[in-house]
Amino acid sequence: MTPATGTEDRNRTAGSRVEQNDDFTVFERHLDALYRSALRLTRKPEDAEDLVQETYLRAFRYRKRFTPGTNEKAWLFTIMTNVFRNKLRQRPPIQESIDEPSNDAYIYQQLEREGLPLHLMTPEQLIVERGFGNEVRRALEELPVPMRMVVILVDVEDFSYKEVAKILGIKIGTVMSRLHRGRRSLQKKLWEYSGRQPQAAAIGGGVS
């Protein structure tokens, strides 16, 4: 690669290795975010490192395509999710199934069926103190990739629905339905990991 624009020439001093590095350091700020998401996607530290390296390599090579002042975090996540999807395509497909309750209130209904005084409890008592906390990462990593990506981008990385739609190249409606399905499935998994049996559904059925 031979950088030869006027700006670079101006910044370059004899023997200096700095050369327009400032133009890339903004991307380093998002390293922890990319890595923790890569870890959830690949499930393995060594694969997560590979994915992040590949992402930064591409980001560096295509850095001229990035418009300064726009959302560099979204840009990096666009690259990373594309790299990850390409990697998946190169592997034999894994059959991923989703075990999804029929509505968004799964844990609430389960607790209700256990006869707990829900109105006297805070969310922290309902969730954390009842042993759901430790299994969150495992539950997330077991979601099928399309849902896992959306839950990570919205819940962990705090992107808006619109940004997620742009990052993944899908419609906002698809973002929402994947998010809802992912969260429902997450609730059910967390409930099961906490060692409880699902209580028979009183209405609507659908709980196996």
Binding site: M1, P3, R17, E19, Q20, N21, F24, F27, E28, L31, D32, L34, Y35, R36, S37, L39, R40, P45, E49, V52, Q53, Y56, L57, F60, R61, N103, D104, A105, I107, Y108, L118, H119, T122, P123, E124, L126, I127, V128, F132, G133, V136, R137, L140, V151, I152, V154, D155, V156, D158, S160, Y161, M176, L179, H180, R183, L186, Q187, L190
Partner: protein, 77 residues
């Protein structure tokens, strides 16, 4: 707004994706409906929990060093 309508909007409410008008409607329903409020608090609590658990992971120092050196290494190629 009834409980079903509230349930349909709850994800977007938790994610702060509603317009001011929609938000007000959900808020009014939650103020009057303890079960929906509990479901909302559980959803919001789960979201916080997912975020908290996942944010515990930090990039290894080796990877950070690699990223820092990338511009100089790449320009040498």
């Amino acid at each position: 707004m009834n409980c079903n309508e509230c349930g349909d909007q709850l994800n977007a409410f938790v994610d702060r994706e509603l317009t001011a008008g929609e938000l007000g409607e959900v808020q009014r329903h939650l103020d009057d409906c303890p079960p929906c409020l509990q479901i909302f608090e559980l959803q919001a609590g789960l979201k916080r929990l997912v975020r908290k658990e996942c944010c515990q992971d930090e990039a290894p120092a080796r990877l950070r060093a690699w990223v820092r050196k990338l511009p100089t290494e790449e320009r040498r190629v």
